[in-house]
Symmetry: D4
Subunit: 249 residues, 8 copies
């Protein structure tokens, strides 16, 4: 609703090109108009010409196939997240261009080369072998959104020297995604070693009083390292989206 547009409209009314009733009708719809066109789904980074994302969980193979077919008409690259092996297998049979990332349970369909949008590297750091799935979802998503990505595996805080040995690699990243379950302490330690934003991802790994990731989530929210922000439990995708926005900035 720019001033220029309003000026033109009022001029037209004044000059009679637009009747008063037409003017009223136009002005009444204004706030809505610049709206309707845009978003097919909730992922704001997914405009025309940009990659599209399908949340696979709870959707049937047939539903996903239809969505992919509809989307692929625009020639955009497509990412399907939270997709189990069985469904992936059937989709791979249907879409030869697709490739499945089993660890992160993601399917990508790259109809065109991924455009590099990020200015630096997104580094994913994960604590234990059981955090690999979530870390992998973050990695695949971040790469798909046009970022250079790296990964440091298996550097839990109970063996702190292994982490310190990677300090050089830590210091070269522009954004870090730190994935950890159990007590969720890794982002606090990493946050104390670097000068860039750290996005913490709690995982539901653990047993007993880990309560499906609550212990890790609370640990991260209460991190004593300033500069750490947190996403939902197991939300590797969300962390990658946020990291990507930061990396483009």
């Amino acid at each position: 609703m720019s001033p220029d547009y309003l000026k033109e409209l009022l001029l037209a009314v004044k000059e009679g090109g637009v009747s008063i009733d037409e003017g009223v009708a136009t002005l009444k719809k204004l706030p809505y108009e610049d709206i309707g066109c845009a978003r097919i789904d909730h992922h704001r980074q997914l405009r025309q010409g940009m990659p599209e994302v399908v949340f696979g969980e709870g959707k049937s193979v047939s539903q996903i196939r239809q969505i992919i077919t509809a989307m692929s008409g625009r020639g955009n690259n497509i990412l399907v997240t939270r997709l189990d092996d069985e469904k992936a297998k059937q989709l791979l049979a249907h879409f030869p261009v697709a490739s499945y990332h089993a660890d992160g349970r993601c399917l990508t369909l790259e109809f065109q080369p991924l455009a590099e949008c990020g200015k630096g590297t997104i580094l994913v750091v994960s604590a234990g072998t059981s955090d690999l799935g979530v870390a992998s979802e973050a990695l695949v998503t971040a790469r798909f959104l046009g970022n250079r990505v790296e990964h440091i595996y298996d550097v839990g805080v109970a063996g702190i020297h292994r982490l310190l040995a990677q300090q050089e690699q830590l210091s070269t990243a522009r954004v870090l995604i730190v994935v950890a379950g159990m007590e969720g302490a890794l982002p606090s330690v990493v946050g104390g070693l670097v000068d860039v934003p750290v996005i913490a991802v709690p995982t539901s790994v653990g047993y007993g009083a880990s309560f499906g990731g609550i212990a890790a989530l609370l640990g991260m929210l209460n991190s004593c390292a300033a500069g750490v922000t947190v996403v939902n439990i197991d939300n590797g995708f969300g962390a990658a989206c946020a990291a990507s926005l930061i990396n483009r900035g």
Copy 2:
């Protein structure tokens, strides 16, 4: 523990300039040594020549005065957070250079001009009048850390058009900090309107089943807008630290 350093050491051992026992002693201490130098306190952004931060809560006026006196010797600017009116009054009497930001309960001592470090603007958006305190802590901190800052007040989701009317200002920020209590829905809506990182700060404002900010915290963690990350309840300071790191990147 760079290769060059190791090479020199081994050469010295080989050539006898360093005895084998001395070499063993040196190598044993290696991981510690290249360490000790660095961090005096937990605030990584607070290096020599950088501003210093004191967490005021739970500290007596006398303790804070000693800390400020000690720190001010280095000529650095100092920020004291979580400081109530009463303590502030006494510190203002003691340090003429200090100024108190009552809304955000912060005291700043600027012995030198604040260096501008950020590339863009950090915009703080807050939902209700009762979120102003936390928003103000974020604003003061972000400015103190060298960022240009702006603020949009009182744009709760139950009067959505007020927020939409600010869309232009929203779109000019490089990072957003969105502060909200009660149901914590504002970051989700804002996240859908911009293409830059959004840091959500739940506040303890509310009553009944808001449970001191838990409702808002959960709302933000479950945000359907990708790109939103979350900090602890009422943690305006932490949000500003993270935003500042992003804005420098």
Copy 3:
């Protein structure tokens, strides 16, 4: 226990058509009978001549079949809720008049045309595709209880303009049921756009810290929009009952 029925009974006693002992026996059973027929399953809106409801979850096909057979004797319409595909299939084979609403997991048996009881339209608004099941249960129930119903799909708060584009339709409803999972913010936004009662239904959709709908439930209870009331998680049926009572008022 209508006055007419009592009058007839007393007349019959007076005139000798019903003996005093028979009269006593009949009157003694009255409170039961009144119950036996009308309140078989606690749904007060289901009186003589009104539709009847069976809660399908945890009942076997055989049990449901018996209940339907017993109820259908009275010629009333019947609604079975929380019924999965498998059971529905068997019941459809048995009751040709039945039709199954797979999305909402409801079976309806309409032995007579649905009487229209509501004064206006009940509009069901749902946030994401995964909230469709609960929204559908609300829709089918509301229609079954004699209301005109409409539905707006897929208008989550992270794409707020899609919702605003529907403002005209929002403003024509007499009651709104707003269904949302994850952060549960939609009722707050909708509540700010309309002047009629809004019934919020949290859904168990989400993962991680959504805790099976608790995040959405808390978000809705803490809504900053006055006039929003809340029902239990996933309780589309209950929301429709409440909306129907409002729409008849």
Copy 4:
């Protein structure tokens, strides 16, 4: 932003009474103005000519006095909620027109007679003497919003016959607000006795495992009586807003 207002404005522009630049300026401010005056505190039912509401908790006497002074210029009636005795005393001294409802901790300033907007009666039912404060907030608010109101006190479920003795009064209401602490069972029982909407308000009354109203809240959300909806703990104001919307419908 009524069509009539727009029509007048455009006509004035067309006829030259308002210049195009003035027209642009006016239109640009429209969304703000519409807000600035009407939605000062998120209460959508409070338009021009309608009562205004101030949430008193956490505001100083001086702040409230300023807000009232600003609002009263428009001649609207004003309701201040969550106001303790001490503040009320000072405000009463300042505004002779004000009257304070100590039980419900509400202050009302009626500059003009309350317009009756509701079609029927809103009946507030409360369980114990300690629920009176919340019940009273609901009563005062409902009356202030233009409804006829009645109240049944002290009819807890452990003395069920006292409630049943009031069944006639229960049956004459158009909407019920049922307030209860402890186990929160009253709305379930009342819901089974009437055919109109029941809004349940859990109170924080109780001790031990009542957890500040959580027990009552859960009891109400799990009510076996269909047609019961719930608002936040102690939220008598919100219940009255919702009941008022229903009563106008």
Copy 5:
């Protein structure tokens, strides 16, 4: 609504002494009528000639004084629970017959000798010195309701032999009330030593993860000793009521 009453009524209708319309009116009111007479307050054991109970918490001295004055007209004994020292002092000055039990925060007014109603002894067992207040409330209440009472103090499970040394006294009680905070294990141990009902009372004593009595409450609900039932946290009064009903049976 006895058969005899119905018979008489119908006979009267048949014989013309009662008109049909009168009969209808009478029958319509029947379920209500035999109701209204009974319960003045929630304490069912408090009939005419029986002791009366006032819950003191949250009531002003003036309110309690009025209630006592009103009640004492009937000559019944009165118990005021949850009454702090300050209020008690004022009431003692007003009612010479009153005596205050400081440990249990109860005031009793015995206008007539306490009638003994129980068949055996109620034994109150408490774990630590900090559980004495709750134990004392139970003791005073049980005695007031007409029971012989005894008390064993300070027999926590970490010094199990002290408890075992009291086994003879344990075995002579007809009902036991076992009061414990912290881990709440005492009722489980006691329950294994006796053959009579054990009522467990969790107290809010403890710190850290005792969560105001939740730890003790959960411990008691999960007791491995069959025959243990539980009341609310700190609810010594409720335990005594239940024990008294058992002791009278």
Copy 6:
């Protein structure tokens, strides 16, 4: 048991004043003994000649068969709780004397007639059809422990008149067990109608915010009816044990 006492006792034995058998009898009453022999499992009411109980959940058919075989040597009656259909079938094939109570998931083996131990009737009241399983476990257990038992089904609080119609039966019981899920309000209402102990059993029936029985549990703990005590969620067995102890007293 002071040394002096022992000394005297031994002296008396030595000198013949106390026979060896008397000495043994005296010493036998020291705690150890009447212990080691008696308690094979944690159920104190299960002495020699008394029924025995096996907790079936988590035990294999083979384990249960062995335990039954061992126990049956003593000729005692045996109750197996928490036993699913499949296991029951196999055990029935093995033990012809056994009979399975499918609703309550209990198996009983009555090698001798059940001795009646209770003085009155235990009445089990249940709210909805889905609470029948837990009610049935209570019924079977109570009968097995030697009590007369009765049952009132399907009297939820949302249809309060059905409950009131049973008031006569309610008043004849010596102990009541009230079983309810969802909001758990039934025990409060029943507790207000009777003058005998009420044991409340929350069930895990419900969905959404019933949280597997927590809502019902909290509702019961916060009951406004004095004299209500509570057992663990779904613990029909425990309720029957406690009721049986009360009924024997």
Copy 7:
């Protein structure tokens, strides 16, 4: 202690094979006895000749003074925990031998030199300055129980190198007590650096989602470092007791 054993013993006493004194000695070892005398309170390490402990919280100065006076008759050293400044001041005036440890809120009265009972050093490591109180309680208690103690302050995980710089001191301890609030990660890191038992103490330090120490508690229970055990929130005393038992072993 079978009847046979008792019979034999008594027979032997009667026949002179066992003297009366031997008989008494044998019978004295039956559990009761070596019990009754010893445990005045719940602290098992506090036998005759050993230090005594008084839990100060919730006790009046007068009560504590009486307890100390009673205890001091035995000449034992006394420790009073959880004692605030005000009470301490009064007790110091009364007992000249007493000294107050303000940080740890402990008062000690050493009537005799502390006996050294531990084999090695107990090292207390604390994360932040706000954990000092709990750490100090642990230090004072451990020293009082006869252990050599050391302390490393202010080594939070966000500045990991400061901790690593102390590795030598860490490696010389026989037991470690690690005190931390907020995310509670320090015990995990320390546990990975040493080969001795680590007792973790969560503190209630933190704000927002630290929930009074729950975040730290969960972090410690879920520690990925084996060999870490946990005590209750803020329970420095309990940690010192456990560490002392280990150090004596």
Copy 8:
């Protein structure tokens, strides 16, 4: 990275057997290697020549087989925890040296005799038959780590005399591990009977309000017996690691 190894390496460099570049390469890898071999899974007690541990849960048979094969090259003994029957069967077929401990769900491969490292006995005490699995995990782990172990079964607190009968065995242990579900009271009672460290392990055994072990966990954290420390729910392995560290000290 033992000194001896370093000495040899430097000597080889000095003497020319290892070139400087080779030396640099070796040293650069040291921190990794030291990790690669020893800390494959975060268990610090597993150095060269010491047993190795694999966490079996969530790993496929094939993955575990590879890890075992890799590890077994070093000749170390190996423990696989959390391994179900089905996987164990396949691994037993592959590794003849393996033996499976079904109760504790552990597989051990002893390529060399277990070295005895502990000074005394670790006694595992468990409350009910359903705690046997966790107790068994603790037993197998403790034995595997080189400790003498004993076990007392089935001594729940509701039959306290059974526990007391074992007091002699309790008093001979150097460390106790006490395993209990439901109310988790056993460690408190045991802690009052012994003078050595007690490690409490809550188990997820129980139903209803045991909440998967939370009730037991809270009970243990709030133990009134000093000297009790706690590990995570069902964490028999962790308890054994801690006990083993204590027993070696």
